[in-house]
């Protein structure tokens, strides 16, 4: 009974959330290829400056005062000194778990830290500080399903921690889809 209610709620919510685009499927397969959440190990609210990191997957760029800020997918920001554009130099990596977007005013960097919005003082890159945090400013933010993904996925379990990404996995009777 409870399970039926859950399914109804799920079907209803997925229908409400994604109206127009998706026909909610109802046949749950025994086994199917899909996506499973990757949970962040440790405290995802822990933000800090690190030595330069290798570039893996960039997707956002921001520029201010001869510094390039390049977003590393869901991990943080590469800080590149571009005083001489012929010889750009990677000087720091700002670790911001679950980050996807930034903007800067003065010495303050505004970024999403998964579903939170944070203000970070970057005046001294060796000693960056979180000045303010708005919790859950982006409900459902952080790491949603990949934009172009439609199919089954493992329902995120909030007790496992914050979802920082998605990986392909063979799922047994998955109860979530879109």
């Amino acid at each position: 009974m409870e399970k039926t209610t859950f399914f109804l709620a799920l079907a209803l919510s997925s229908g409400l959330l994604f109206t127009g685009c998706i026909e909610p499927s109802v046949d749950i397969p025994e086994q199917v290829a899909g996506l499973a959440p990757i949970y962040y190990e440790g405290d995802w609210r822990d933000i800090g400056a690190e030595p330069p990191q290798p570039i893996r997957e960039l997707f956002k760029i921001y520029y201010k005062d001869s510094i390039i800020f390049a977003g590393e997918s869901l991990k943080g920001i590469h800080v590149i000194d571009n005083t001489d554009p012929f010889y750009p130099e990677t000087i720091k990596f700002i670790r911001i778990p679950g980050n996807s977007d930034i903007a800067i005013k003065g010495n303050t960097l505004y970024a999403n830290n998964l579903s939170d919005l944070v203000a970070i003082d970057i005046g001294n890159l060796d000693d960056i500080r979180v000045l303010d945090r708005v919790r859950n400013a982006f409900p459902g933010g952080g790491s949603p399903l990949p934009d172009n993904y439609f199919g089954f996925f493992e329902c995120p379990d909030t007790s496992m921690g914050a979802v920082v990404g998605w990986a392909e996995k063979v799922l047994e009777r998955p109860e979530c889809w879109r």
Binding site: I55, P88, T90, I104, Y110
Partner: protein, 251 residues
């Protein structure tokens, strides 16, 4: 009908008003520059963010302090935000939405331009908005969706209308500097157009030796980001655009 007319007149008045005071009120050298795929932007004392369905504003007038303000439901599939002269242009999967920033930073809906469902960012000047529509690898893409660059006349901000449309190959981010439009085509590289005549834009260059997702034109210096590298080009002489440096995997 009469009410619509009055609203239109009022908005036209607001637009002309915005044009005259825009530079003084909204230019802010203290703020950086984002790419066209940005979902955060700062205008004056306000940070605006979009997240799929919502346009949020935050008062950041006090350094280091974030005060949540508006949270406006704007529809489905909002992907990008681009600020210009007191307006916010939102790229969504079903079209472009235009909001005016009112007193106190409050965004007010002005108009929209609808297109078939696809993935798309937008850049603009005071006359035209340039929107790329990507159907390739965009699973939400609706029937009839194609890979396009659309040029939309926004000189009447309340009534944006398409003036020209060009076939592209899986377009992503784009950047505008005067009459030069830089358009990223992912693995297909970077296209550079002269858009002086929107009815007849000219392809000046097509650089194919790197993967381009988004760009920032900086007055002669072009920053290009791909998934695996940052490429910088010198375009002070647009006929002789050239790569000057590259940061890639492994640094």
């Amino acid at each position: 009908m009469a009410r619509n007319l009055i609203t239109a007149l009022l908005l036209t008045a607001l637009w002309s008003c915005a044009e005259s005071d825009s530079e003084a009120a909204f230019s802010d050298s203290n703020t950086g520059t984002g790419g066209s795929l940005a979902r955060f932007t700062i205008v004056g004392d306000y940070l605006y963010t979009v997240d799929n369905t919502t346009l949020n504003s935050f008062d950041i007038s006090a350094a280091g302090e974030i005060k949540p303000r508006e949270s406006i439901l704007v529809g489905e599939g909002v992907e990008t935000i681009f600020p210009l002269s007191g307006f916010l242009f939102l790229g969504t999967r079903s079209g472009m939405l235009i909001y005016r920033i009112q007193q106190g930073g409050v965004p007010q809906f002005v108009s929209n331009y609808q297109h078939v469902v696809s993935c798309d960012p937008v850049v603009a000047n005071n006359e035209y908005a340039y929107v790329t529509l990507r159907a390739s690898d965009c699973r939400e893409a609706g029937p009839g969706a194609a890979d396009l660059l659309e040029i939309i006349d926004i000189s009447n901000i309340t009534n944006p209308h398409v003036v020209a449309s060009y076939g592209m190959d899986s377009p992503f981010g784009l950047g505008l500097d005067g009459q030069t439009l830089f358009l990223c085509e992912g693995a297909g590289g970077l296209k550079v157009f002269d858009v002086a005549n929107p009815q007849n834009i000219q392809l000046l260059h097509h650089l194919t030796n790197f993967n381009a997702i988004d760009v920032i034109p900086l007055d002669g210096l072009l920053l290009v980001i791909g998934p695996d590298r940052i490429v910088q080009l010198d375009y002070t002489n647009i006929d002789d655009i050239r790569v000057i440096s590259e940061i890639s995997i492994g640094v």
